[in-house]
């Protein structure tokens, strides 16, 4: 969707809410407006997991902006790889950056092997604890995780603490406070109620709770009464007051999956890896990025092709 499309969605969303009297909040904005809440130097969280349900259209909008010097917290895939390749990242907080079937993410790999990004490498579960600490307003959460490993020796700012209840040492996993989180959901309404219909919502709820602002791209914009169904309402994992902006972008997770709507695009990931290897970030962006999401989608075969990508089987 380009900006014009987003405006049309605005009108649709208003009509669909069926409100009488005072207008409810309408959080629908364009991708460019949503991403403009991110400033250079900020710490951002990105939801999803590896090649699964990543807010890639929002990441692409970030690639088109002049924002830089970011600290990125993510269960990383090509989101982290692209931002690193584009030189927008100062520091990555990660447990892995991988594309499942392609274990080594090419953009991140190059950034690491050339020493061009700072890192805080932590365990997958430690990241969850850090997000929870931020969500709960705790400075840290004590855990065993990391003891005896290089997670402790390579992160000198990670402190070990005594417990008032035993004689062991504990890792004080600090709160991962985020300025902005970027998430991708299956469906959302104009008020910021979001459904994740995928088999797993991963840690997206904690990314929303750990952030000052959360921007959510959705494949489908729905009227609020869509959520009246109890089974649908159970697939809403955070409250709407945590959603700052909704961006309606069908196919917006491409090339990652948005199960049950479409799978990840293995062919495009391979093209991405080849483009980075041959022409670096510029090679990839000239061939694919475009000046808007609609031009990006044209460059990768069109929305219909994205929406018919088969679901992965594990």
């Amino acid at each position: 969707m380009g900006d014009a499309g987003a405006e049309a969605d605005f009108d649709t969303a208003f009509n669909l809410t069926g409100m009488i009297g005072n207008a409810r909040m309408n959080k629908c904005v364009s991708a460019a407006d949503a991403v403009s809440v991110i400033e250079s130097g900020m710490t951002i969280g990105i939801g999803g997991w590896g090649p699964r349900r990543k807010p890639m259209a929002l990441v692409r909008e970030l690639l088109r902006s002049d924002v830089s010097d970011l600290t990125v917290v993510a269960y990383g895939g090509a989101d982290v790889g692209l931002l690193c390749a584009a030189g927008k990242v100062r520091k990555v907080v990660y447990a892995f950056v991988s594309l499942d079937f392609m274990p080594l993410e090419p953009g991140f790999r190059k950034a690491r092997e050339t020493g061009s990004v700072d890192v805080r490498e932590i365990d997958e579960g430690m990241m969850l604890l850090g997000l929870r600490a931020a969500a709960w307003g705790s400075p840290y959460i004590p855990t065993r995780i990391g003891l005896g490993t290089d997670v402790i020796t390579r992160n000198p700012d990670l402190q070990l603490v005594d417990s008032p209840y035993d004689d062991k040492e504990w890792v004080a996993m600090p709160a991962l406070n985020l300025d902005v989180s970027l998430l991708h959901a299956t469906r959302g309404d104009a008020r910021g109620v979001c459904e994740i219909a995928s088999p797993d919502h991963y840690m997206d709820d904690w990314f929303a709770r750990a952030a000052n602002k959360t921007v959510v791209s959705v494949d489908e914009l729905v009227p609020s009464d869509y959520f009246h169904d109890a089974d649908v309402a159970r697939r809403v994992y955070w409250e709407r007051n945590l959603t700052s902006h909704i961006v309606h972008i069908p196919g917006g997770a491409h090339p990652s999956s948005s199960d049950p709507l479409y799978g990840y695009d293995m062919k495009h990931y391979k093209e991405y890896a080849a483009a980075l290897a041959e022409g670096g970030y510029d090679g990839w962006s000239e061939a694919h990025l475009g000046d808007s999401e609609s031009s990006y989608q044209r460059n990768v075969g069109g929305l219909e092709a994205i929406q018919t990508l088969p679901l992965p089987v594990y």
């Binding site: 991140f108 997958e124 990391g146 005896g148 490993t149 290089d150």
Partner: protein
């Protein structure tokens, strides 16, 4: 009866899960997953396994030839956040394939060579290894037994805690660390040698002990009752075929060697 080395290793690895009862078994990679699935279908029917996505299953999915997750034997939703709740409870046994293993049983999947700031080869990152290793049982699966995997020094990046006295956290003993078995293409080992030294428990048919010692970058002990790794039974081979109908297991080891070495 003929069988492949991969099938021999799967059967040997499946024995790691015997007598464990209701423990979540996680095999990362095709052969480890096949090993866990085989155990759930034979020696430990009470075992728990997921679909590698988001559901616990009452019977394991095949590792190949499945067109969709619909129709699988779901037991409960088991998203990744909930996996961590289970990991930290200790009721889990992971069978994983590290890139490096050192004499302490510490492992590496994060990066190789160079410096930490700019490694020669960036691998996955530490993933869940730190939490797994201090929370529950772990076994290792090594498709190619060599000094590149079993390194002489410490791992380049220590991703999992092992039996290293210099890294033992305050208040912990070796009893708090539970490394079970190491299954390679040459042998089966454990860490029950003197002072938790790695130890050869069984040699695969036709493999001389000297070959294991030459391909390990540190000293290993030998179990007094060291045996030959048992050949798969007909029942095990039939179940393996049922669990991997497309025979993807034949593509996991270079040239898919036979389980019984041809005499030279």
């Amino acid at each position: 009866m003929t069988f492949s080395l991969a099938e021999l290793m799967v059967c040997a690895a499946s024995r790691s899960f015997e007598n464990e009862g209701e423990v979540l078994a996680t095999g990362i990679g095709l052969l480890p997953r096949l090993a866990a699935s085989l155990a759930m279908r034979t020696s430990n029917p009470d075992m728990m396994m997921t679909d590698s996505q988001s559901f616990m299953l009452s019977t394991p999915n095949p590792v190949s030839g499945m067109a969709s997750h619909s129709g699988q034997a779901n037991e409960n939703w088991m998203g990744f956040a909930r996996i961590f709740d289970n990991v930290w409870s200790g009721a889990r046994h992971a069978l994983v394939g590290p890139s490096q293993i050192d004499r302490f049983g510490q492992t590496n999947i994060a990066a190789l060579g160079g410096s930490y700031e700019a490694p020669k080869v960036q691998l996955l990152g530490v993933r869940g290894f730190p939490g797994n290793s201090i929370s529950h049982a772990n076994s290792f699966f090594v498709p190619k037994h060599s000094t590149r995997v079993f390194v002489t020094g410490e791992c380049d990046v220590v991703c999992s805690i092992g039996y290293n006295p210099d890294r033992l956290p305050r208040g912990y003993t070796f009893d708090d660390i539970d490394i079970r078995r190491v299954i390679t293409d040459l042998c089966v080992m454990d860490f029950n040698g003197p002072n938790k030294q790695m130890r050869v428990v069984s040699l695969h048919p036709g493999v001389p002990l000297s070959e294991v010692l030459e391909n390990t970058g540190f000293e290993v002990a030998v179990a007094p009752n060291m045996t030959e790794t048992p050949a798969p039974s007909a029942e095990q081979l039939a179940l393996i075929t049922e669990l991997d109908p497309l025979n993807v297991r034949s593509k996991q080891l270079k040239d898919n060697p036979p389980g019984m070495r041809n005499p030279n």
